[in-house]
């Protein structure tokens, strides 16, 4: 209490402002409510954007780290040769190279059977994780079964399945891959690469350690293989993630734009409130001026009023926004703590700053008007 008294003694404009606001609590309350809604709108829409982005990148996983090299059909190249794979291995300094062969085959276990994609890979461990069982470093015998196919055929590690009449022991059932993937294992069976017909490869997947490394590898592969003729086309998933990031950037700006409109409306309501209250207090302000209060002090007093409305609205709005963010993230991401990240803090600071700024700006005209009225005029009834 004494801290507040001290503050009021030092900044009398604040004391006067606070008293004036408490004069018509309902009106001040409604003005604050406008700011609360505006700040809440900006902050929570901004945080909503962050949540969407986080959710999307969880879905996408690490695909930005992968590139796919496939034969360039337009040039009449049907498959990648061992030589191509060697060149790719040389070009990639930082990451695993997984040549892939694929075809569709009948897969069965007991009396259950299904036609699925069969991939031949030597080192699938670079791309997948096992749900049950273990993925060997080199796949020389046995098969890995994608989660979807495993469900269909009701297999678990240790069972045997037959692929086009050939029997395999199942080494592992793969974890379901939720996101987008270059070579989705979910409805596939993976067998040793020699077991799939053919000598070349239908594609080579490179799994790098980072998006940057993936990008560098892509450049190096293009240089090595496409120098004389366009042998391969290189597809970087990073281009998708970059596009998605850009999209979310635009979405966020759009959401915040919508929020800002509500803040502008709140600003107009503060302008209205301040204008009405200064007109009502015309005589009082005339008295202040008569007893020796300078114009600048009158302006400061009214701006302090507008500022207090803005600060009150901003603080309450920020608290509500954090609450809304926690609820949203708990619901969408199952992780309420995801609210407390730098981007969201920025949105909250931005929203509160906008709120206070809008209020003070809205106070300018009424303040200027009140301060410039001649006290003689104000004191006449």
């Amino acid at each position: 209490m004494s801290v507040l008294d001290d503050l009021f003694r030092r900044v009398p404009a604040l004391l006067m402002a606070r008293r004036n606001l408490s004069r018509n609590r309902i009106r001040s309350g409604l003005a604050v409510l406008g700011i609360i809604i505006g700040v809440l709108a900006i902050a929570s829409l901004g945080m909503f954007g962050t949540t969407l982005r986080t959710g999307a990148s969880q879905q996408l996983g690490d695909i930005g780290n992968e590139i796919s090299v496939s034969p360039n059909f337009q040039e009449g190249i049907e498959e990648l040769t061992e030589r191509d794979v060697d060149e790719i291995r040389r070009a990639v300094t930082d990451g695993a190279v997984v040549p892939v062969r694929s075809e569709s085959r009948l897969v069965s276990r007991g009396d259950r059977q299904t036609v699925t994609t069969v991939y031949g890979m030597e080192n699938p461990g670079a791309l997948y994780e096992a749900e049950q069982g273990r993925i060997p470093d080199r796949l020389r015998q046995g098969a890995l079964v994608g989660s979807g196919t495993a469900g269909l055929l009701d297999v678990e590690p240790g069972n045997t399945i037959s692929v086009d009449g050939r029997t395999y022991r199942v080494a592992a059932v793969l974890a379901e891959q939720g996101g987008i993937s270059l070579v989705s294992p979910n409805n596939a069976v993976i067998v040793p690469v020699e077991d799939v017909n053919g000598t070349g490869y239908s594609q080579v997947v490179v799994s790098a350690d980072s998006g940057q490394a993936a990008n560098e590898s892509a450049v190096a592969i293009r240089e090595a293989l496409n120098e004389r003729e366009q042998r391969v086309s290189v597809f970087e998933l990073q281009s998708i993630t970059a596009g998605i990031n850009e999209f979310f950037g635009i979405l966020n700006a759009f959401l915040i734009g919508i929020g800002s409109i509500s803040l502008v409306v709140a600003g107009v309501s503060i302008l209205n409130v301040m204008l009405m209250s200064t007109i009502e207090r015309r005589q009082e302000i005339g008295v202040l001026r008569a007893v020796g209060v300078q114009r600048g002090d009158v302006i400061r007093m009214i701006l302090a009023e507008a500022g207090l409305l803005g600060v009150a609205g901003g603080v309450i709005g920020a608290i509500l926004a954090v609450g809304a963010g926690v609820a949203l993230n708990a619901f969408v991401l199952n992780d309420p703590l995801a609210t407390f990240q730098a981007a969201n803090l920025l949105y909250i600071v931005l929203a509160v700053g906008f709120g206070v700024g809008t209020s003070v700006l809205s106070g300018l005209y009424p303040a200027w008007k009140a301060a410039n009225e001649r006290p003689v005029e104000a004191l006449r009834k």
Binding site: V287, Q294, V376
Partner: protein
């Protein structure tokens, strides 16, 4: 020249869309420290206008205003405000207290914007002096008319002015309360050597004034 305030050949004209109203016509006026001057006259004769010019709230159309020997006719708004604060105390017919502030805060109000560490003590003393030592924390709506006017007088005195300007100070008070206010004026100008200039319709004010100036139709009679 020891007039604390003086008007020389002051004219005040209002241009009200075509018709020009002459509210003050060639007015010469002065007051000395400790003097109590009553300004009387019919409604619309220019009394309030003259008081506003004396109080540096308004500037004359023609003529000169001297405050403590200094020509203050053409000062900027800022300088006029500084002079009002230093030299002049205002008392209004309808008191004009700030409803959100306590009696004590109302008295302090003219000192609020500015570093003035002794203001609170002075305000307390002044309220005690006008007999409101028990009412420091009351808000204006908890005070009677006479008490409000005494708060207003205390407020007018907070900066130790040389001139007290009062526009119908007893106009909203009954006879007896009016008398107590006038007694207070009398005490102030005696003890503090303040010039009191009061506009009034109240005949009992004549008993207190050293001198009565009569304004009719903008001219001093």
């Amino acid at each position: 020249m020891n007039h604390i305030i003086e008007l020389q050949r002051v004219w005040k004209r209002y241009d009200t869309g075509g018709e020009v109203v002459e509210a003050l016509k060639d007015v010469d006026f002065h007051a000395d420290p400790g003097e109590f001057v009553a300004v009387m006259g019919p409604s619309g004769s220019g009394k309030s206008t003259m008081l506003n010019v004396l109080g540096l709230l308004d500037t004359p159309t023609e003529g000169t205003v001297y405050l403590d020997g200094q020509d203050v006719t053409d000062l900027s708004d800022r300088e006029m405000t500084v002079h009002r604060k230093r030299f002049i105390g205002f008392i209004f017919q309808s008191f004009h207290l700030i409803p959100t502030l306590s009696a004590l805060e109302n008295v302090e109000m003219p000192t609020l914007f500015g570093d003035d560490p002794t203001a609170r003590d002075r305000a307390t003393h002044l309220l005690e002096r006008v007999g409101l030592g028990e009412r420091l924390d009351h808000r204006p709506d908890q005070l009677s008319g006479g008490q409000k006017q005494r708060v207003a007088i205390a407020r007018a005195l907070i900066n130790e002015p040389r001139i007290l300007l009062a526009d119908e100070p007893t106009g909203n008070l009954d006879r007896k309360t009016g008398r107590s206010v006038l007694d207070l004026f009398d005490e102030i100008r005696r003890e503090d050597d303040v010039a009191v200039i009061a506009v009034t319709h109240d005949p009992q004010l004549g008993d207190y004034a050293d001198r009565t100036v009569e304004l009719i139709d903008g001219r001093i009679q």
